[in-house]
């Protein structure tokens, strides 16, 4: 609990420091809105031209897009320390000072960054979710709402776990490793569309290595009333837990890697 309080206190402080430059903050937030708006425009135009995708209607596609946007950008807001700042922490030696403090390193890394500009991206995602839900005509039940929340939370943990792969590489190589972007940012781009769109190798990648299919697509398709692979309802409750599994594995690996950490000396 103490850790959690510490975390929210740090995030609050960082937020205030971001707001010290209001005009810059507003401009950047607007830029984010244009970015995510552009992504959504692309989906809308695709739906306008093609109507449906492998049996998924336009409303369904908006719903998938919204789930992905909300999960991904929530992760960036709350986990900026891992998703963005970590390579520079290693390069500049900021990580060294974390090692001597009486708190977990991961906690401190998480406390060290937030990206409130992404809030507009989350807003676009929420709009897409509502649009998708209305057009698809979902009848909401308490269980469905819970599954939605579980799915988003677990996807956040999954995304955080995937960004930790980059952090782990970074501990060894100092440089940020671009290729990992293929499953983080690439995963976002790819998995904003339902998984059965893709050929087998990509499907395997996003089910086994980076299980977006399990944390997002299985529960979302059940909520939409078109369960993926015809799996029963409890699959939608169980499979998202793979998010926390990935996060757990990566946390362990992260700590193992830290034992081999050599400061850059700068």
């Amino acid at each position: 609990m103490n850790t959690l309080r510490l975390y929210f206190k740090s995030i609050g402080m960082l937020l205030r420091s971001h707001l010290q430059y209001p005009s810059s903050f507003i401009m950047q937030t607007l830029a984010q809105l244009v970015m995510e708006g552009g992504e959504m425009l692309a989906v809308i135009l695709i739906v306008d031209r093609f109507g449906s995708l492998k049996g998924w209607s336009g409303g369904n596609l908006y719903f998938f897009f919204g789930m992905m946007s909300v999960s991904f950008y929530m992760t960036e807001i709350f986990g900026r320390g891992i998703t963005g700042d970590f390579p520079s922490m290693v390069r500049t030696g900021r990580l060294d000072s974390f090692l001597v403090r009486p708190r977990g390193v991961l906690t401190q890394v998480m406390c060290a960054g937030t990206d409130p500009r992404r809030i507009t991206c989350v807003a676009v995602g929420v709009v897409a979710l509502i649009m998708g839900s209305n057009i698809s005509g979902i009848t909401w039940t308490p269980l469905k709402a819970l599954v939605l929340i579980e799915s988003i939370a677990m996807s956040c943990l999954l995304i955080l776990g995937l960004f930790m792969i980059e952090a782990i590489f970074c501990i060894f190589s100092v440089k940020s490793v671009e290729i990992v972007n293929a499953i983080t940012y690439g995963g976002r781009s790819a998995c904003q569309y339902p998984i059965n769109v893709y050929p087998l190798p990509l499907r395997a990648l996003f089910t086994i290595v980076a299980p977006f299919a399990l944390t997002l697509h299985v529960p979302a398709s059940w909520i939409l009333g078109k369960p993926l692979y015809g799996w029963p309802w409890w699959a939608a409750v169980v499979t998202p837990l793979s998010g926390i599994v990935v996060f757990g594995i990566m946390t362990v690996l992260f700590h193992v890697a830290l034992r081999h950490y050599r400061s850059t000396g700068s």
Binding site: Y21, S23, S24, I26, M27, Q28, L30, A31, Q32, V34, M35, G38, E39, L41, A42, L45, I46, D48, R49, F50, G51, S52, L53, K54, G55, V177, E178, I179, N181, A182, G186, S189, A190, Y193, V197, Y198, P199, L202
Partner: protein, 263 residues
């Protein structure tokens, strides 16, 4: 003129040094390309369009291959603006706009060629319907090359306008982000412009963003007839002149009110 040419050459050589970053970039871009191609193929399975799928796939690969041309920035210059070192450049006996224009052209040209050649070679070996197709015709291919070069000049002029905003606000992230995102959407990077609604085509192909890569790609894939090439070039040149003139005005205005952050 000789000064600009030597700046250009120096920058070409400099860009050639970063080969490690290149391989990571290529693999990443290849992955994105594959994902996009998979999506468009699935969409075409549901509802085929009058535009053949090969044309869309080729569009995607060319966009991915020339990613660096579109979205590479001169980070040295941005650092100089922030640190105030740009004041040294104002002492140089040549036009500052021209100096940086030559630099960014060289950077984008070399950066994108280094990535595009290996990427397009790889994409050509992918199975049919997944990889890049041959150009619609040999003349179409030959006509696309000057269009690509004009597109390069156009994107560099746009880039310098973005830089002019950075000079005003010092913080590059706001306005730059905004302009980059507009460019991403309206240059066909997020969704090929050929798949935008038909009623938008006239307006959207007139915008400067369509001159960068969309126009050359359309010539390559044969969406534009060969006879349209001259009109395309004319529109590109029109935008290059307008954007360079606008950039120059903005740079000169900024020079007068340049604030150097001491230290």
């Amino acid at each position: 003129m000789r000064a600009y040419i030597s700046v250009f050459k120096m920058r070409l050589r400099m860009e050639l040094q970063y080969r490690g970053a290149m391989i990571g970039g290529i693999l990443c871009q290849m992955f994105f390309g594959l994902v996009l191609v998979a999506v468009y193929r699935a969409l075409y399975d549901s509802k085929p369009q009058s535009l053949p799928i090969e044309s869309v796939v080729t569009y995607v690969w060319l966009q991915q291959a020339f990613f660096r041309m579109m979205f590479g920035t001169d980070s040295d210059l941005l650092d100089k603006i922030r640190s105030g070192d740009i004041s040294y450049d104002m002492c140089r006996p040549i036009n500052m706009y021209g100096f940086y224009y030559a630099r960014i052209v060289a950077m984008k040209l070399m950066g994108s060629l280094m990535r595009a050649v290996p990427m397009l070679t790889l994409a050509a070996f992918l199975p049919k319907g997944w990889g890049i197709s041959l150009p619609a015709s040999l003349p179409g291919f030959l006509l696309a090359i000057p269009a690509l070069l004009l597109g390069l000049l156009c994107v560099c002029a746009l880039e310098n306008i973005t830089v002019a905003f950075t000079m005003r606000t010092l913080d590059s992230r706001g306005m730059q982000g905004l302009l980059t995102m507009l460019m991403m959407t309206f240059s066909g990077n997020v969704l090929p412009l050929t798949l935008f609604p038909d009623s938008w085509q006239k307006a959207i192909t007139f915008l400067p963003y369509a001159q960068l890569l969309d126009a050359p790609i359309r010539l390559y894939t044969g969406v534009y007839e060969l006879s349209a090439a001259l009109g395309v070039y004319a529109l590109q040149i029109f935008w290059i002149i307008v954007l360079i003139a606008l950039g120059n005005v903005m740079w000169n205005a900024n020079k007068k009110r340049m604030i150097v952050q001491g230290g």
